[in-house]
């Protein structure tokens, strides 16, 4: 099976520009991504769930995601659930601050001292949640939730965490039985198979099907149609990009 990135946690901050707590979410998320848990985390701008493509909307299904909200409106959590997938965990700055007796948070443009402490607090809590989610096994990228009985999982591939805006989850549209279907992760799967030197063959069609099924729902009675289509698409990919020997 292709060694797709398995162990990363997504972070979606509300980044609410109107309030200081929104600034706290943005700075806390940045600190986790760049300093506290680089390599284990990835982010996406909340508006891309609407302004982006299907790969962007697949974000919270592909990665167990922590929604970081500034206030009780929970824009990040609610929008993530509505457009992408239910967040695996949530942090709300106002609740976190109140729970720690932190008051007087001001300065959406330049945070005051209480605001800076709220960033420390929030970033610390998010990092804890990242660790918890990384330790937990059995994330189902097709359903966007953890499985009750986790299967064995391959070790994580270290990949630098960066802003995912514009990258999203790679998707590819294919025509299956006259219908255009968007398949999440297909470009990555093709690339990994090619790098492994696996040429198109009838035997490979089954492996393709089972790998694609991890990330996409495939109707039970369409296995053969999907397998043939995937093999055809992979053959085209292979023909255009056969690796140098």
């Amino acid at each position: 099976m292709p060694d797709l990135p398995r162990k990363k946690v997504g972070i979606v901050a509300c980044s609410g520009e109107e309030i200081a707590e929104g600034t706290v979410t943005r700075l806390a998320a940045l600190r986790v991504l760049e300093q506290l848990r680089p390599g284990d985390t990835v982010t996406i701008c909340l508006p891309l769930f609407l302004a982006g493509g299907e790969g962007d909307r697949a974000f919270a299904r592909f990665y167990p995601t922590i929604a970081v909200d500034g206030c009780g409106e929970r824009c990040a959590a609610r929008a993530t659930e509505r457009y992408s997938g239910k967040p695996a965990a949530e942090v709300v700055v106002t609740e976190l601050a109140a729970g720690c007796g932190l008051a007087g948070l001001h300065g959406r443009r330049r945070l005051n001292e209480a605001g800076q402490r709220a960033v420390d607090l929030t970033a610390g809590r998010v990092a804890e949640l990242v660790d918890e989610l990384l330790e937990r096994k059995g994330w189902d990228r097709r359903r966007g939730s953890f499985e009750a009985e986790p299967p064995a999982e391959a070790p994580a591939a270290p990949v630098a965490a960066t802003c995912s805006c514009g990258a999203g989850i790679p998707v590819q549209k294919v025509v299956i039985d006259g219908r255009t279907v968007t398949l999440i992760g297909l470009p990555l799967i093709f690339e990994q198979l090619r790098e492994a030197g696996k040429a198109p063959s009838d035997h490979l069609a089954r492996e393709l099907l089972e790998t694609v099924r991890i990330y996409n729902p495939i109707p039970a009675d369409e296995d053969e149609t999907y397998a043939m289509t995937l093999l055809r698409e992979y053959a085209a990919f292979w023909g255009g990009k056969e690796p140098a020997r």
Partner: protein, 143 residues
């Protein structure tokens, strides 16, 4: 002018890029310093969620959007929310006009970033002036 705001300012809410920070700094300068009585800030996250007050604001007022990257989330979200984008600024394009200001930093902008944000804010303020009638402007605070 009356207490009602006339122009909506919508900056990028990006986390990972300097230009996003420049867009927000410029937006804050416009709504807090340059044209406080004529403008109001609308958060992208609320437009994404379909917040009624935010949608009403962009539907009722012309919007100036400040985008940090080519994906143009701010512009797209205003349009998707039923608003009219009076002027869409892309920070990269602004930078091309002010290449002497080299922006760096995300959590905190360097001096070049702050200067670029100021230059953008001045351009936004000029657009705001063109969108509202003279008796609606902020009195002696115009350039």
């Amino acid at each position: 002018m009356s207490g009602e705001k006339r122009v909506v300012i919508v900056p990028c809410s990006g986390i990972g890029k300097t230009y996003g920070t420049v867009s927000r700094e410029a937006a804050y300068e416009v709504v807090e310093d340059l044209r406080p009585a004529a403008t109001q800030l609308v958060a992208l996250s609320q437009l994404v969620l379909g917040d009624e007050a935010s949608r009403a604001a962009v539907a009722a007022c012309p919007a100036v959007t400040l985008d940090g990257c080519k994906l143009a989330c701010a512009t797209k979200m205003v349009q998707e929310s039923g608003g009219a984008v009076a002027q869409a600024f892309a920070v990269l394009d602004v930078y091309r006009r002010y290449k002497q200001f080299k922006p760096q930093g995300i959590a905190e902008l360097n001096e070049g970033g702050l200067k670029l944000a100021h230059a953008l804010a001045e351009e936004v303020a000029a657009v705001v002036d063109g969108l509202i009638t003279p008796n609606e402007t902020d009195g002696g605070r115009h350039a």
